[in-house]
Amino acid sequence: MTTLILALVGLVLAPVVGGYIAGLDRRLTARLQSRMGPPLAQPFYDVLKLWGKASNVSHPWLVFSAYMYLVSSALSVFILFTGGDLLLLFFVLTVGAVFQVVGALAVNSPYSQVGAQRELLQMLAYEPVLILVFMGIFLGSGSFAVADIFKLESPLLCSMPLLYIALGYAFTIKLRKSPFDIAASHHGHQELVKGVQTEYSGRELAMLEVAHWFDVVLMLGLCAIFWHTNVIGMAVLLIVTYIVEVLVDNISARMTWQWMLKNALGFGLTLSLANILWLYVK
């Protein structure tokens, strides 16, 4: 019962934390480009404004897909906070990604279509890596349940540093940061406009934004599993990871999908397999 209440509290707090992280991200990015950057609460203003816009739906599937994506992201955060099964979380997360593609393919916009194809390639790149990371966690802890991992005595990072780097690849692709922002970029005035999100507007776009905050919290939560033994260590790990993400986002350009597949699958799979082999031998 306590777990359930805590998970519900986490579910409510997740978008708040995610929104402020998005604001911090924009501010950090601005500072790296010697700009001032928007206020920390800017993502909330954006979402509130989008929520109040007049409805402009080009296809009913867009609305359905936006809801499904939001529900799947929120549900995967909920599963993580209840200490649930990582495999279940993985499948729920996939449903959201698939519905984003479905929504984008339902309309005729070429930007949306190209974005959808690229989103599928992104899934092809990060999902094998993510599943291998979960496999590694299973080999290290003997369980797929997050609650069981928290009963371990030493942090997982000590025995699986290579898997953490592989998770970093999945993190960057899932959150659409450069060099992997090929399906939809945060900077919409480029060749792909907003990719999969091009046709969404108003309320649906606001829901995608909130779902993205959930995703940020989820990915950071997955990183937190690697240092579960104390809060300070966990916080340091998360802060360092996120700052590195923002730095990589700023110093790299958007690459092609071929490059992404080669890199994410090549390095990601090699790193995770090497680490899994080591865990297996040990």
Binding site: G37, Q42, F44, Y45, V47, K49, K53
Partner: protein
């Protein structure tokens, strides 16, 4: 949903996303629009983002004259923007047709095709002026939402008749008699 309305209105005034349409400009004003995004002017401070997509945008920035070919495109882009929205005509050409006003293929300013909320004249329009234009457009949106008075003049750099001229100490709208009275 009523209590959300207050916050939504706050959001509307703090996050104007712009989309820029070049209606056949000489690129002078376009360069100035892009200059607003650079670290020197940094419009993201005010929550302004260049979204490049009318479906996500709140403010339409138009540069250049409207001609028979692009009038339809301009109308289409305007129609794709969800309400509430605002339009800013940037530069002399977008405001009135500029030096091309009498050309056989030119319809005139942007307001011949879509309703314009703020005129930002200049050849080319300065980035400060464009930022001022977006801020004034927010006042217009505010007035349309019933939250404040409508700006009296929506042309940047033009004084309203009750504003005081620092040179004479009289309002700009003062009559010739009032002016001569003060002079004597």
């Amino acid at each position: 949903m009523k209590f959300l309305e207050k916050y939504i209105n706050a959001g509307r005034l703090k996050s104007p996303w712009v989309v820029h349409f070049d209606c056949g400009s000489c690129n002078g004003c376009d360069i100035e629009v892009l200059a607003c995004l650079t670290p020197v002017f940094d419009i993201e401070r005010f929550g302004i983002i260049n979204v490049g997509n009318p479906k996500h945008a709140d403010v339409l920035l138009v540069t250049g004259t409207v001609n028979h070919r692009n009038a339809e495109v301009l109308k289409n882009i305007y129609d794709q923007m969800p309400d509430p929205k605002a339009v800013i005509a940037i530069g002399a050409c977008a405001c009135s047709g500029g030096v091309f006003r009498d050309c056989y293929n030119v319809l005139g300013g942007v307001d011949k095709v879509i309703p314009v909320d703020v005129y930002a004249p200049g050849c080319a329009c300065r980035p400060e002026s464009i930022i001022d234009g977006v801020v004034m457009a927010l006042d217009v949106v505010k007035a349309k939402l019933g939250l404040g008075p409508m700006p009296k003049v929506r042309i940047l750099g033009v004084q309203t008749s009750d504003e005081v001229d620092p040179a004479t100490g009289l309002p700009f709208g003062a009559t010739q008699e009032e002016k001569s009275e003060v002079a004597s």
